[in-house]
């Protein structure tokens, strides 16, 4: 018996989580994803605090996507006070966010996913036989980190992304250095697509009712920021209406709420959801690869998220080069505008590496008066649990080790912030 656990709807989903499967002679009785992270109260501790200080604290919700948290919180705050950044500042925010995407996707694919497929328990053990893959992982991760280092002071918990712009911008020669390294990284990103096109063929989880949600990119180019959310059933809604269509419910066994589309339907967010909704906005090499591998980008199989991330690696490396070219063409660029902190309410929803990230902020007298944060993993939890159950139902008669691995792999395909700790498998 389990005592009911209730749930917070913010970010403590990254960290410790577990899978619990209860089987009987007839089959699966129960499947639960337990999120067992200690409380961090991010919404409570920032209430009544100065806006700038709260904005420094929010990224600390998650290290894997701290740039995502920072930029989404900053955009919500700017919307609240009625400020719109200049296009060239918006481009550089895109670039910073792309640094996070590249780093996060590279780490997830090579260090967290690949060992399962190659039969290792950890990525470091792969060094003897798969040195090339480890080197590519590190090189791709390094270019993502370097973008964040140069643009925002560091790769984790970037302080140099503030209301109105940046404290300081990289030099022209730093941008040129980034561009050179991005060009060198492009073949590695393409290799990742090739590698995962061979590995990622799991068909166990086939969910024909799957719904995907993603941002409708603001500038008509496949990307991160937008004012509307696209749903794969054809519906579209403005980000301000998020509470009407992303409904959170308390479930007895999870420390995080489960989210449903229009109150009842399971939905997914993440790289595959972006591709499902916005593939027509891809361009360049990624567009060619998309056409070539279209069949692997299955809308009904959560494992396709891995392959979608590989494809996005190619896209975001190319996109980063284009943003740097545009930036240098407009050089010199003023790093920031003064932002007058007025009272107001703002919502920002962006594409974090692992899917939609919501920040709703109300500002009063320069302080945070209301805040609501929903992370991608919180949105994915319900459907993730559904797919773990589908996997378990197919394999409940297999030996426990196989069942453990396959259900863990299902969870890892979502790239949740809890992937690192999904180890409490009780059978």
């Amino acid at each position: 018996m389990y005592i009911p656990i209730t749930v917070d709807h913010i970010a403590r989903v990254e960290g410790k989580g577990g899978i619990e499967i209860v089987t009987s002679d007839e089959g699966i009785k129960e499947v639960k994803l337990n999120i067992i992270e200690g409380p961090r109260f991010f919404e409570a501790i920032t209430l009544g605090k100065k806006l700038e200080e709260a904005l420094a604290v929010y990224p600390r919700i998650c290290s894997f996507c701290s740039a995502a948290h920072k930029l989404t919180a900053v955009e919500a705050a700017e919307k609240a006070v009625g400020f719109t950044p200049r296009p060239e500042i918006q481009d550089l925010r895109d670039l910073l966010y792309i640094g996070d995407m590249i780093e996060s996707h590279a780490l997830h694919l090579y260090l967290l996913v690949l060992p399962d497929y190659l039969g290792y328990s950890n990525p470091l053990a792969m060094v003897d036989k798969y040195m090339k893959e480890i080197e590519y992982a590190m090189a791709l991760k390094n270019i993502g980190s370097k973008i964040m280092d140069y643009l925002a002071s560091r790769a984790i918990h970037q302080e140099n992304a503030i209301l109105g712009g940046f404290g300081k911008l990289p030099t022209r020669s730093q941008f040129e250095e980034l561009k050179k390294e991005l060009k060198e990284a492009l073949p590695m990103a393409e290799y990742t697509v090739e590698l995962f096109s061979k590995l990622d063929q799991y068909e166990e989880v086939k969910d024909e009712e799957m719904i995907h949600m993603a941002v409708k990119p603001r500038n008509g180019v496949y990307g991160i920021f937008g004012d509307y959310i696209k749903v794969s059933d054809g519906f579209k809604f403005p980000v301000e209406d998020y509470k009407k269509h992303i409904v959170e419910k308390v479930v007895g066994h999870s420390f995080a709420k489960h989210s449903f589309y229009n109150n009842e339907k399971h939905f997914m967010v993440g790289a595959i959801s972006r591709i499902v909704n916005n593939a027509d906005l891809l361009y360049g090499r990624a567009k060619e690869l998309y056409s070539q591998y279209k069949d692997l980008l299955r809308y009904d199989n959560c494992f396709a998220n891995n392959f979608a991330q590989a494809l996005e690696l190619v896209y975001f490396v190319e996109r980063a080069i284009d943003i740097i070219d545009d930036t240098l063409a407009k050089w010199p660029i003023k790093e920031r505008d003064e932002v007058e902190i007025k009272d107001g309410f703002g919502v920002s929803i962006t594409e974090a590496p692992r899917g939609l990230l919501v920040y709703a902020l109300e500002v009063k007298d320069g302080k945070v008066d209301y805040v609501d944060i929903i992370t991608p993993t919180a949105m994915n939890l319900a459907i993730m649990e559904r797919h773990v159950r589908m996997m378990a139902e197919k394999h409940w008669q297999d030996d426990p080790e196989t069942l453990k691995l396959l259900t863990e792999m299902t969870v890892r395909a979502y790239d949740p912030c809890i992937s690192c700790s999904v180890h409490v498998v009780k059978l």
Binding site: I10, F41, K49, R60, L124, E159, N160, K168, C420
Partner: protein, 261 residues
């Protein structure tokens, strides 16, 4: 050292950033022939918290009763315990409102809901067990890890940094954000080692490496900030983002306002 050193990396309540920083170091690969990783759930499926280790790295704050038990177990199994990062060393940003009633914080986020754990206010690891060395920062710098690990692997012992961020900021030749621009920079009381990363980008230090041990110039900085027009509460709130558990903070700041400074 002929035998491989046994290392464990353990997480309490945190953002996982310290582990991520460690995992992102290319140098970890060079460590492989010198060390065995016995426990590191972020990367290793076969991790085991019950294994004995030579060096235990702990990140995160103690935020549940279960974590109190975990740190005690780690201490029993480890020869050297290193608290890694702002959460493990100082309680982290989740301690920012530590003076508020715990139940009040709980209600703001969780309402009347109950969980099967025993949650508590975030606390530094040192509150429950002896910590042998600390890596400051949110997250610590890569060179902090390399220095500590490098010295321990050759049988030596790493030194603590006892000077503030300002020293490194001056060496870089940055303009002073506090004096010249009037910004609430916490560089003067924060442990150095980051090479004044944020002030070098014109961003005032928020103190993520925590206050300099035994010195902590909370009072002199409070006086300077008071002169610039900041209220006591504003100063306390900023200093508490990463120093809420520092026993000296409140008294030293209060003193400046009581004496009429």
């Amino acid at each position: 050292m002929s035998e491989k050193v046994k290392i464990g990396f353990y997480a309490l309540t945190s953002c996982y950033g310290c582990q991520l920083q460690f995992a992102m170091m290319d140098e970890v690969l060079q460590l492989l022939d010198k060390a065995n990783i016995e426990c590191w759930f972020m990367l290793e499926r076969g991790s085991d918290e019950d294994k004995e280790v030579d060096i235990a790295f702990i990140e995160g704050s103690v935020s549940t009763q279960e974590e109190v038990e975990l740190v005690k177990k780690i201490r029993e199994k480890a020869k050297i315990v290193i608290a890694v990062g702002s959460c493990a060393v100082h309680g982290g940003v989740q301690s920012w409102d530590k003076d508020k009633e715990f139940n009040e914080l709980w209600k703001t986020v969780y309402g009347d809901a109950h969980v099967k754990f025993e949650p508590k206010m975030a606390e530094p690891v040192e509150k429950y067990i002896k910590v042998d060395y600390k890596l400051y920062g949110c997250p610590p710098e890569k060179k902090d890890f390399l220095y500590a690990l490098g010295t321990l692997l050759i049988g030596s012992w790493p030194e603590d940094i006892d000077y503030p961020v300002c020293v490194e900021c001056r060496l870089r030749g940055n303009p002073c954000l506090l004096i010249e621009k009037g910004e609430p920079c916490l560089g003067p009381l924060t442990v150095a080692g980051c090479d004044a990363r944020c002030p070098a980008f014109n961003i005032a230090c928020i103190g993520c490496r925590g206050a300099v041990k035994d010195v902590a110039w909370f009072d002199s900085l409070a006086l300077e900030l008071k002169k610039k027009g900041l209220k006591k509460e504003e100063i306390l709130e900023r200093m508490k983002i990463f120093n809420a558990h520092n026993p000296k903070l409140e008294g030293m700041v209060n003193k400046i306002f009581e004496e009429g400074g």
